[in-house]
């Protein structure tokens, strides 16, 4: 008979949605308040093959692509941003250099275990003097006879203190500025590696962030991820994907804020009618819905462009900028719709409001993104 098959994207979305409803949402508040990263849930995601969604089966992945990865991250962010952010990082930034440039032995030792959730990776660009301005990265990589010596520090490192290995942007030649940048692979057990205590942050409170220090860390030459001096190109190969993944996280959080708001609009009665009967409240819901729909279309478009290896950095920047701003507005409006109860830790909307702020910075601040978007049109 004719071919009857399921749409895998829809099935993955549905499976992730069920996982989030059953396993994540019921525990989200407790996890957020504990400040502890939920390794049990992370391991469950690994067992389901979520961490390997972007990678081929030949390296222990699930054989999917960016579209499926972002569909899964959207759902996860609907449940708990800390979990989604760390998972998203493990799937992409923390492992992509290792996947592309690591040796077979490095794959055996780090990539397979990472996709099984047994080892955790981190990705380090930011330094105290190098936030948006990555040309100012000062962590140095000095060539030796058989490898490199790394010295310097990184900050705002997600998974920094808990990571087993790190993909670190270093300067190989300060005279060359951006052209001297290069990524290096540094296992945590490298002598000379240390970290600060965990940062105390407004949102994504169960993510683990810290400063990281490299003090004469000797690494073999295979740990140089790519051709020397091409660090920026390595970053550019995944920059669109990082931005669209960030947009996907924003979509998930936006949906959560909207779902909770709709529920509350129907439940809460004032002046003898549900608050959702008021036009000003309806306007908030309408704006949330329109922005969500528009953002979803952007994400669906750009994830496909990334999957098909089409250049789309500008579209990805626009999507990141639009969806994160929309999610900020949606979580703000959700707080207002919930009145005083939105201000209480009992309701999740305060968490959305806090957690979403994190998306403003990673993947490019919105001031920088607006500048680069405008540049496309004013050149």
């Amino acid at each position: 008979m004719s071919m009857i098959r399921s749409d895998s994207e829809a099935l993955i979305k549905k499976t992730m949605a069920r996982f989030v409803d059953e396993e994540v949402i019921p525990k989200a508040r407790e996890i957020d308040e504990s400040g502890e990263f939920p390794y049990d849930l992370f391991k469950k995601l690994a067992d389901m093959g979520v961490l390997g969604l972007r990678y081929p089966k030949s390296v222990g992945g699930s054989g999917g692509d960016t579209v499926l990865y972002c569909v899964a991250m959207q759902e996860l962010a609907r449940g708990l941003m800390s979990l989604a952010a760390t998972t998203a990082m493990q799937c992409l930034m923390a492992t992509n250099g290792l996947y592309l440039y690591g040796t077979k032995a490095m794959h055996e030792e780090y990539l397979y275990p990472a996709l099984k959730g047994e080892k955790i990776g981190a990705f380090q660009l930011t330094e105290p003097e190098a936030g948006s301005d990555l040309g100012n990265v000062r962590t140095s990589a000095r060539k030796t006879a058989d490898g490199y010596v790394i010295n310097g520090m990184k900050t705002w490192s997600t998974n920094g203190p808990k990571g087993d290995f790190h993909t670190v942007l270093c300067q190989t030649n300060p005279d060359k500025g951006l052209k001297g940048l290069m990524f290096f692979f540094i296992p945590t057990d490298t002598p000379g590696f240390s970290h600060s205590k965990k940062f105390d942050c407004l949102g994504t409170r169960s993510s683990t962030l810290s400063e990281i220090y490299f003090n004469d860390c000797h690494i073999p030459k295979e740990y140089c991820l790519g051709e020397e001096g091409r660090g920026l190109d390595v970053l550019l190969t995944i920059l669109a994907e990082i931005r669209i993944m960030t947009a996907a996280l924003a979509i998930g959080l936006h949906r959560a804020a909207m779902d909770d708001s709709i529920k509350y609009c129907k439940e809460r009665v004032q002046f003898g009618k549900p608050i959702g009967k008021n036009q000003l409240i309806q306007a908030k819901i309408a704006n949330m819905a329109v922005n969500l729909e528009a953002g979803q279309l952007m994400v669906d478009k750009v994830t496909r462009l990334v999957r098909d290896k089409k250049s789309c950095l500008n579209e990805a920047s626009m999507a990141k900028y639009f969806t994160v701003e929309s999610a900020c507005s949606a979580s703000d409006e959700a707080m207002r719709i919930h009145g005083a109860y939105g201000y209480s830790m009992e309701y999740s909307v305060q968490r959305y409001y806090r957690d979403n702020r994190f998306l403003l910075y990673g993947g490019g601040t919105h001031e920088v993104l607006q500048t680069t978007i405008a540049r496309q049109y004013l050149k």
């Binding site: 008979m1 004719s2 098959r5 399921s6 895998s8 099935l11 499976t15």
Partner: protein, 263 residues
Amino acid sequence: MKIVVLIKQVPDTTEVKLDKKTGNLIREGVDSIVNPDDRQALELALQLKDDCQAMVTAVSMGPPQAVDVLSEALGMGCDAAVLLTDRAFAGADTWATSTTLGKAIEKIGDFDLILCGYQAIDGDTAQTGPQIAEYLGLPQACYVDNIENVEAGKITVTRRNDEGYERLSLTLPALLTVSKITVAPRYPMMGNLIDAGCEDAAIQIWNAVDIGALNSELGMEGSLTQVVKTFSPKTKRAGELLEGDVPEMVSELLGKVRQAHLI
């Protein structure tokens, strides 16, 4: 060991809405899911696969979109799936459904164990499993919540009843209907879900001819019962259970009776 698991696609709601005119389920706008008991049957089958390398085949009868429950079954780790879909199957009552599924199982052949859910959350009859066992002439146990062991052509299972547990031993091949197992069924694996959507997925599509069935045995024609009318029962007022020690409960009760102006 060869296991067949029967799974049904059902609407994701316990509040099934009915079309007032036709009496049929309104499926539009309602998500479809694997019937919850069937997910448990799949889990028990896959545990046997983990323990003794069983080969697990999931079977579903339904419209083409029921392929989704089979893809999920493959996602969970089943080895193969069969979708029974044909206009001739439409309008089947439980008798015709059991005949159709029974014939498909005969075609699969060479099976040791058939697992069904105890009950579908939409049709709710709990008849399909037992009827298939009768059709195939197999021993059956219903409401099974655990498989204790499989050895020397026998399977030992437990099921809960009002008094406690019953432990039953059945000669294989046998049919079990499953409910309320103690572990949460596993989630599908992403890689398997991706494979399930591919052309070369291990899903076979069978129609009436494929299972060698006559139209008179199938669908509306093969049904012994006809639904005359379907309606939602009127919900009675919900009861309320008071908790606390006796004086507390008495004063709360008095308060409620007064509030309702009954005294």
